[in-house]
């Protein structure tokens, strides 16, 4: 074996000299002649016979050469060089192929990576397909939730589930030991982990006896916390820690891949410890989120139907105004996690698959065009003795090399696109930031790229080189060209639809960015602060901290105004209540339904000045009111007009919790009317709003506040100074900073993402359509080369020829444009929900998209048109 291998290697590296064989053959011939002469044949005749006997010396020489190891590689290398030369010689064509593959394959790999995370990611629960999210749906909260008053009734009486469980949400909590840290603590029912099918990696789950009020405190900690804080201590179970100052026993550690079903971050799980008997009686009871495991063979729809009587029970509990607006749902956990993203992901996947198909069709079309252009050359090679398989091999190799370049470019393109997606995606897209082009996706990309090579090569290589190609015009069928023309027309239609969508979204985004928000975000720096339960256990302590901070900030360098609020417009994280729960003193309640939502927030007097919100009536809140025992409110203009139509609201009294017991529904005096401010996000409609004054009384304060500072200093300086001021009061307090401008810009992330994504596909579609058009037009021009020659010989000018080529291109473009416009106008109605202040049939937008498309296609067909004018009439005539 070793001897054979070393021989093989030696001959692979060193070639035998061709002269050796010549000498050997010469010797053979001489021997042969000598033998014949001995047999009595005269010398010339003996020589003749010997030569005939031997046959072709050339063939022997070639066959001997073929015996050499690596001979095949040599031929391949030769074809490879030939392919590279061909690629270099026609850069426009090669670029078009590589670009097409890069866009087609790169986009699909990137999108597939993103979609894979959303649609196909396995959830870290056993048999996750059977887990559902169960709950009520109300206008206040678009995603389902439960209420303690209904939950236990449902849990006891449900039939479709093996088990039903709940969590009560995540709240900040403090690990109060040496090196105290702020953690996220989730409250869960004792059957939470078993229902999800999760087992702690260390220790055990909660016992039902631990999930009761006043039971000894126990906790499960996350894997990350176990690793970072407890150095993976294997004997952690049983260890006591202090959470918010309360001694708590760690009973177990969660698996590394554990995540909450609603994807919140949680470092610690605590038992809900709800008083079940009290919750059953309560109305509406503790808000919570319910999850269940379906019995085998039961679908979410069947489960929903079976829960109908329980829903009717809950509906009877609901306050009258809500009844018409409350529904319930049972849906797979995966759908809940990806809510709206789910459908978008499928659409995206479909889009990109279409792009991929178009790209493949383009490449096939381009290669055929190229082959048609090289018929003459192929015929010459065949005439010089190249075998059919050799020619086919060369054609496949050339497309393989091109595809390899394309696939390589596609990998880089996919990586770049993914970075772009992650960079521009809004925070609401779960898991996107962890998306990486993984090995499977890479294999997917490369295999499409490389498998398409032989396919494309065969398509372009199989057409037999006609024997008459040397002398006459080629005969590659016009029928196949017809199919390709139809394909180009379709591509143009599709890309016009995408272009129109992209243009509409761009206009919409432009409008969104330029709309009046009702506030001035210039020079305003914000800091969100949440005080820990341990250091600030009472509203007094909380108020003391915030008031001290406000005083310290007020006299800072360049500070014009300081205000504290608990939420900021236009984000929509404010409090909400229904209009029916507001009441003007001395007037009856609003009774026809809920009356829609009303937004409200806690503010300090300078809030309006800091954000530049004009006060239309009254003086707003002043220091007098700060110290008063009475309560004050500022209404937004739209709320004032609704509550006091045609009257002066100033000084009037309103109730903000009507329906509640008198003690909880004190009167508020209207101290002013402020201009309307955008408060429902950037695109959504605006709610009427009111502001409650945070007086110097503990009852008006809690652990949360947003500090707003308007100053003349640069934002970075201001932020640093604010951090220092907070640290002076409490060095361990974490704060979240940013300018108001940044906060608002973040709200535009989602529409920006949509715009860029659709825009990207529009550009990709356009580029592909243009490449397709270019390929087919070039192909047709090769076909018509002799015709062009004759026309020019007969006196056609270059202008005539260009017009002729353009006309044939426009015969593909115009029907495509008309079809695309019709389709886009028909479809755009369905986009109107995401459009902001631009009609779905906006004339200027559609005109712009169409003009752009036609302009680009004209340029694309000009290239082959100009090439056609360079045809030398004499050459074509002579070939004919």
């Amino acid at each position: 074996m070793i001897v054979e291998f070393s021989t093989w290697l030696r001959y692979l590296l060193f070639r035998k000299s061709p002269k050796e064989l010549d000498d050997e053959v010469q010797f053979h011939l001489e021997q042969s002649i000598a033998a014949k002469m001995i047999a009595g044949i005269p010398e010339p005749e003996a020589r003749r016979q010997a030569l005939i006997e031997f046959g072709s010396v050339d063939a022997t020489r070639e066959e001997c050469a073929q015996q050499r190891p690596g001979w095949w590689a040599g031929i391949l290398a030769q074809d490879f060089r030939y392919a590279l030369r061909g690629i270099r010689r026609n850069p426009a064509f090669s670029l078009a192929v590589v670009l097409t593959l890069m866009l087609g394959i790169g986009s699909s790999a990137a999108v597939f990576t993103v979609v894979d995370k959303i649609l196909f990611r396995p959830l870290p629960y056993s048999d996750d397909g059977r887990l559902v999210s169960v709950g009520l749906v109300a206008p206040i909260e678009p995603q389902e939730f439960m209420l303690g008053g209904s939950y236990y009734e449902w849990q006891d009486n449900q039939k479709p589930f093996v088990a039903m469980t709940s969590e009560t949400g995540v709240e900040p909590c403090d690990l109060t030991e040496v090196n105290a840290i702020r953690l996220d603590c989730a409250g869960v029912e004792s059957n939470f982990l078993p229902t999800l099918g999760v087992t702690p990696v260390v220790g055990r789950n909660f016992l039902p006896s631990e999930d009761r009020p006043n039971a000894p405190k126990v906790a499960l900690i996350s894997y990350a916390l176990w690793r970072t804080r407890f150095a993976r201590d294997p004997s952690i179970a049983g260890k006591m820690i202090r959470i918010d100052g309360v001694a708590t026993e760690i009973v177990g550690v969660l698996p590394q891949d554990f995540e909450m079903p609603r994807l919140q971050t949680a470092d610690v799980l605590l038992p809900e410890s709800l008083d079940v008997a009290a919750q059953r009686r309560a109305d509406p009871g503790r808000p919570m989120w319910a999850f269940a495991r379906l019995k085998p063979g039961v679908t979410a729809e069947q489960a929903k139907a079976q829960l109908e009587p329980l829903f009717q029970y809950s509906l009877r509990l609901a306050p009258a105004p809500f009844r018409k607006e409350v529904h319930y749902t049972v849906r797979p956990l995966r759908d809940r996690q990806f809510h709206d993203v789910h459908r978008a992901a499928w659409i995206l996947l479909g889009l990109v698959m279409a792009v991929l198909l178009i790209a493949c069709a383009n490449v096939a079309s381009l290669l055929t065009a190229r082959r048609a252009g090289r018929q003459h050359e192929t015929a010459v090679r065949a005439a010089l003795g190249a075998s059919r398989s050799r020619l086919l091999q060369a054609a496949i190799l050339e497309s393989f090399v091109l595809s390899a370049f394309g696939a390589l470019a596609a990998v880089f393109w996919a990586e770049a696109l993914l970075h772009l997606f992650v960079a521009i995606a809004p925070g609401g897209m779960p898991f996107l930031s962890t998306a990486r082009i993984d090995a499977r996706v890479l294999a997917f990309t490369l295999s499409i790229g490389l498998l398409s090579a032989p396919g494309f090569g065969l398509v372009s290589g199989l057409g037999r080189a006609p024997a008459n190609a040397l002398t006459s015009r080629g005969g590659l069928g016009m029928r196949r060209a017809g199919l390709r023309q139809l394909l180009v027309t379709t591509q143009i239609a599709a890309s016009l639809v995408l272009l129109a969508a992209g243009a509409l979204l761009t206009r919409s985004f432009w409008n969104l960015q330029r709309q009046a928000l009702g506030i001035n975000d210039e020079n305003v720096v914000t800091a969100t602060i949440s005080l820990g339960q341990t250091a600030y256990p009472t509203p007094e302590r909380q108020m003391a901290f915030f008031e001290q901070l406000q005083r310290n900030l007020r006299w800072g360098p360049g500070v014009n105004a300081v205000a504290l609020s608990d939420s900021l417009p236009p984000g929509g994280s404010h409090h909400d209540q229904i209009y029916a729960s507001l009441r003007v003193e001395g007037q009856p309640r609003y009774t026809s339904g809920t009356g829609g939502n009303v937004a409200w927030r806690w503010v300090t007097p300078e809030y309006f000045r800091t954000l530049n919100i004009p006060l239309i009536a009254g003086s707003g809140f002043t220091d007098d009111e700060l110290a008063s025992a009475n309560r004050f409110v500022v209404l937004s203009r739209s709320l004032a007009e609704r509550m006091f139509p045609g009257q002066d609201p100033l000084g009037r009294q309103v109730h903000l919790a009507s329906g509640a017991p008198i003690a909880q529904d004190p009167p508020y005096t209207v101290a002013g009317v402020a201009a309307d401010v955008k408060n429902g996000g950037l695109a959504a409609g605006d709610e009427p709003e009111y502001y409650r004054l945070r007086r110097n009384r503990p009852e008006d304060w809690d652990q949360w506040a947003v500090v707003l500072v308007k100053s003349g200093l640069p934002a970075a300086t201001m932020e640093r100074w604010m951090r220092e001021q907070v640290a002076v009061l409490d060095p361990a307090l974490p704060i979240e900073q940013g300018t108001l401008h940044e906060r608002i810009a973040k709200l535009a992330d989602q529409p920006r993402f949509e715009m860029l994504l659709v825009g990207y596909f529009a550009c990709t579609g356009l580029v592909l359509a243009v490449i397709g058009l270019y390929g087919v037009t070039s192909f047709l021009m090769v076909q018509r080369k002799p015709e062009v020659g004759i026309r020019m010989a007969l006196g056609a000018s270059k202008g005539n020829i260009v017009r002729m080529v353009l006309a044939s291109a426009m015969r593909m473009v115009l029907p495509g444009t008309v079809a695309g416009l019709t389709l886009a106008l028909g479809l755009s109605q369905t986009w109107s929900s995401v459009l902001f202040k631009v009609g779905p049939h906006d004339a200027a937008t559609f005109l712009g998209a169409t003009t752009l498309l036609i302009a680009v296609t004209v340029i694309a067909s000009l290239i082959p048109a100009i090439a056609a004018t360079r045809v030398d009439p004499m050459t074509t005539l002579r070939v004919d």
Binding site: V3, E4, S6, T7, W8, Y11, E20, L21, D23, E24, V25, F27, H28, E30, Q31, S32, A34, E53, F54, G55, S56, A59, T60, E63, C64, Q66, Q67, R68, P69
Partner: protein, 114 residues
Amino acid sequence: MATPTDLLQGTLDLLILQTLVLEPKHGWGIAQRIQQVSGDVLQVGQGSLYPALYRLEYKGWIQSEWGNSESNRRAKFYKLTAAGKKQLAAERATWDRLSAAIGLVLGKTEEAPS
């Protein structure tokens, strides 16, 4: 790829290796020797002899050396290597098995018709 050519090629290899067992020979000598020994039944076409020699040499089973022929003319002599001897033994065994098997089959079919 079990085409008849393969079988012929393999057979030619076997014949060449066998011919070289006794002494090194040049191409002409090998062809003559095969012809003689087979009683003129097997005629080795030069068109396949030289490619076969090259192939065997590339595989390391034979080695070539320039020397002087009987007529004192420079000629290329081929000599069996150790690896070639092993290969010859293996190919002989295969051949024996094959021909025995074919013989069995043919023997049976001869009996069948009568």
